[in-house]
Symmetry: C2
Subunit: 139 residues, 2 copies
Amino acid sequence: MQQQISVITLGVADIARSRRFYGEGFGWEPVFDNEEVIFYQMNGLMLGTWLKDKLAADMRREGAGPGPYSLAHNVASADDVAPLIARLADPGGKILREADAPPHGGFRGYVADPDGHGWEIAFNPAWTIDAGGHVKFGV
Amino acid sequence: MQQQISVITLGVADIARSRRFYGEGFGWEPVFDNEEVIFYQMNGLMLGTWLKDKLAADMRREGAGPGPYSLAHNVASADDVAPLIARLADPGGKILREADAPPHGGFRGYVADPDGHGWEIAFNPAWTIDAGGHVKFGV
């Protein structure tokens, strides 16, 4: 079977607030949006932000959810990590962890979006990212 | 900025149980694994499964988390949806919603992995998936 993820859908409380975070923080442009859902074309998959009640109803799931998970956006150098974390705080992000060096190498910090979804902002010298944003294990 | 997601990391309670679900259910092969984390090379990004206490400590986050979110794996036809959902139930998945047709078209159902992370299994005729698994908005 294809090792393929087609969408990550984040439940959000307020579409406009979420759009501001992803638009002004990351600078990403939607490929589709209406009053309840926005899709962003990513590197070979879609990121969706959907009103959380609609998502919970669609997936027949209510309640607190399964606990920790994170999304990551990788940058080209260690020096790019802290400025992006600072930039994401401005349109409603909450810094969870300021950037520092993890034991396995590289450099990273964490920011929660306005709905609490956690993003790792990382430089990882052991992984390759091509010009189209495609991420590959190894160099 | 690149519209790029590099990793989705799911917190898991038991690495072996999680490996069985992704290996026997989806049939995916790890590109890296040790006693606390496994990485799967996906379509231009990585899927990580990491012991949940380690992930929570790394991201400086504790507690229930932000509520609903889902991952999706898309298949090539509506007829492929129900068999994959059934197959995922066998190695420890929990069916949240049996496959049916959503109002926006296509066909889909939801399965939670053994740690409760929700996967939508979907056929979406409005999106393109190439031979490498890369997903694009539109046809």
